[in-house]
C-alpha cells in the first residue's frame, strides 16, 4: 500500500439546486475534476446533519465537502444559513478535540459556477492529497499510527 500514491476519498454532499447543478455544468462543459470526489445529491445543504459527515470520516473518507447555494440564494430561502451554523458547530467540535477540522469543508457554489466547482474540487483534492490520509477513520479501530 505504501508504494501506491495516496489517493484521497472525498465525500461531497451537494445541494440539488446549486452545487449539484454546478457539477452537471462542469461535466457538460467538459471541465476536468478529480474522480476522488464521491458526490451525494441532497435537496438542501441544511438537510445534512453533520453527524453524517463525521460518520463518513469515520467510515473511511479522508474529507467531506458540503456544497450549498450562495448566502441569500437558497432555494428554500434560509437553508444555507442553517447549514453554515451546523458546519461552524462541527468544525468547532473537531478543533476543540484537536482533530483536523480542515477535513470538513463548506463551499458556496451556485448553479452557473461550473468552472468554480471544478477548481474547488481540484484544489481541495490536491490539498487533502498533500495532507495525507485522515486519522479520523481510525477512530475506534486497532489501526492508525500512534496506537502501540
Amino acid at each position: 500500500m505504501k508504494e501506491k500514491k495516496f489517493e484521497p476519498v472525498i465525500v461531497g454532499f451537494f445541494c440539488n439546486w446549486c452545487t449539484s447543478a454546478a457539477a452537471d455544468l462542469a461535466g457538460t462543459s467538459r471541465l476536468h475534476y478529480p474522480p476522488n470526489i464521491r458526490p451525494i445529491r441532497v435537496m438542501c445543504s441544511s438537510t445534512v446533519d453533520p453527524v453524517y459527515m463525521i460518520r463518513a470520516l469515520q467510515e473511511g473518507a479522508d474529507a467531506t465537502i458540503l456544497g450549498g447555494c450562495h448566502p441569500g440564494d437558497c432555494h428554500y430561502i434560509t437553508g444555507n444559513y442553517k447549514a453554515r451554523r451546523r458546519i461552524a458547530i462541527v468544525k468547532t467540535v473537531l478543533k476543540s478535540l484537536e482533530f483536523d477540522d480542515d477535513r470538513v469543508l463548506l463551499e458556496w457554489i451556485s448553479g452557473s459556477e461550473g468552472p468554480k466547482f471544478a477548481r474547488v474540487m481540484n484544489e481541495y483534492t490536491e490539498y487533502i492529497r498533500n495532507k495525507g490520509p485522515s486519522d479520523f477513520k481510525y477512530l475506534d479501530s486497532l489501526g492508525g499510527e500512534e496506537v502501540e
Binding site: V51, I54, A88, I89, T92, D135, L139, L142, G143, E146
Partner: protein, 350 residues
C-alpha cells in the same frame, strides 16, 4: 423555612401544587404534591440531584400547560435548564413559578447511597462562603451557582448570611412575594461566584481532552455505549434519537470485514465515539452544565469534561450562554452575515 413559605402560599391560594425533591431510602426524587398537609414529606433543598427538575416539568407540561398553579423548587442549573427548555418549546411556563436558591452543590448519587451526607453540612459550608469538597465535579466547577435575574421567578439567598433572604427574579416573582408579604432582601454573593468562576477557568485548561483521536479514544475507552448520558441529559429531549435507530448502523457483514481490512482491525460496536461526537454536535451549544451525564455514567467516565468544555467552546463561537441569555438557541437561529471564517478552505468567501 421553604416549607413554611409553601404552606403559607397554599393557604393564601397563590399556589395549588408544589414540585420539590422528597427523600427516598437511598436518594432523593422529585415529588409533586397538591395538598398543604403533604408539604412535610418534601425536602426542598436536597443533597442529591438524581434527575433534572426541569426535565420533570417537561414531563408535566409536555402535552398541555399546567392546569394548576405550580411552585417548582429548582437548583440554579435546573432553573437554567427550565429556561432553555422553554425556548425549545418543551416546557410551557404558564402557571409555573420557579424558585431557585444559592446552591450548596450536590453529592454524586452513588456516593450518597453508600455514604449519606446531610444537606445541613453542605449549607453550613456555603453560609461561611465556602463549599464542601464532597460535591460532584460539575458542582465544583459550576458557573452560575446563584439564582440569576430573569431565570426563574424567586431567588433564595443563603450565602454569607445566617438568615436566608428572598428576592424576586422576574415580575411574576415580585407579585408573588408581594402577595405573600415577604420583604425582598439581599446578600453579597459576588465573592462566592468569583470563587466558582476561578475554579472553572482552571478546570477548562486542566481537564481539556487533547490529542485528537487517541485522546478521545482513551477518554472513552471504558464506555459501554449504554446511552445513559443521553437519557439523563435534559437537553436531549428528542423523542426519536438518531443513535437509537438501530437500522442506521445495520450493515452487511462484508462491510465490517472491509473496514477491518482497511483499518487494521476495528472495535465493536463501531458507533461508540461517534455517539459522543454526534451528541456534542446536537446539544453542545445548549449544554447548561448540570453534569448529570457524568453522574449517570456506570463506568465513571468524567463525561462533563467532554460536554462542558467542548460545549463552552461552542457557546463562545455563538456568543451564547444557555439558560442565561434571552436569545434563541444557536441551533434554532441564524444571521445572514456571520461565521465567514467557517466557509471555504482558508476561511472567508472569495
Amino acid at each position: 423555612m421553604l416549607k413554611k413559605l409553601m404552606v403559607d402560599a397554599f393557604e393564601k391560594g397563590l399556589i395549588e401544587a408544589v414540585m420539590a425533591p422528597a427523600a427516598t431510602k437511598d436518594s432523593y426524587t422529585y415529588a409533586l404534591i397538591t395538598k398543604k398537609e403533604d408539604v412535610d414529606k418534601l425536602t426542598p433543598i436536597a443533597p442529591v440531584m438524581q434527575w433534572n427538575g426541569a426535565d420533570m416539568l417537561r414531563r408535566i407540561t409536555r402535552l398541555k400547560k399546567s392546569e394548576r398553579k405550580l411552585l417548582a423548587i429548582l437548583r440554579p442549573c435546573e432553573a437554567r435548564t427550565y429556561k432553555e427548555l422553554v425556548k425549545f418549546n418543551q416546557v410551557n411556563p404558564e402557571n409555573i413559578i420557579v424558585l431557585s436558591y444559592d446552591c450548596p452543590g450536590t453529592i454524586h448519587a452513588r456516593t450518597y447511597k453508600y455514604q449519606p451526607t446531610g444537606i445541613d453540612e453542605l449549607i453550613a459550608e456555603i453560609k461561611k462562603g465556602g463549599k464542601s469538597n464532597k460535591i460532584r465535579e460539575a458542582c465544583k466547577v459550576c458557573e452560575y451557582p446563584t439564582p440569576i435575574p430573569n431565570v426563574g421567578d424567586i431567588g433564595l439567598g443563603l450565602v454569607n448570611t445566617d438568615s436566608p433572604v428572598f428576592f424576586a427574579l422576574s415580575d411574576k416573582g415580585k407579585e408573588f412575594l408581594k402577595a405573600m408579604g415577604i420583604e425582598e432582601g439581599s446578600r453579597n454573593a459576588d465573592e462566592w461566584i468569583a470563587m466558582h468562576r476561578k475554579i472553572r477557568e482552571e478546570w477548562y485548561e486542566k481537564e481539556r481532552i487533547r490529542g485528537g483521536r487517541k485522546g478521545l479514544e482513551e477518554f472513552l475507552s471504558s464506555c459501554l455505549n449504554c446511552h445513559n448520558c443521553k437519557n439523563m441529559c435534559p437537553i436531549c429531549f428528542c423523542k426519536e434519537c438518531f443513535f437509537e435507530d438501530r437500522t442506521v448502523f445495520d450493515y452487511e457483514s462484508t462491510k465490517f470485514f472491509n473496514w477491518a481490512d482497511d483499518k487494521d482491525g476495528i472495535r465493536l460496536p463501531t458507533d461508540k465515539a461517534l455517539f459522543h461526537i454526534g451528541r456534542l454536535i446536537h446539544m453542545g451549544t445548549s449544554c447548561i452544565g448540570c453534569g448529570l451525564c457524568q453522574q449517570a455514567c456506570p463506568m465513571d467516565i468524567p463525561l462533563y469534561r467532554l460536554f462542558g468544555i467542548v460545549g463552552n467552546e461552542l457557546q463562545k463561537v455563538f456568543d451564547y450562554k444557555p439558560g442565561v441569555d434571552d436569545a434563541i438557541p444557536p441551533v434554532m437561529d441564524f444571521r445572514e452575515d456571520e461565521l465567514h471564517e467557517f466557509e471555504g478552505l482558508l476561511g472567508g468567501e472569495e
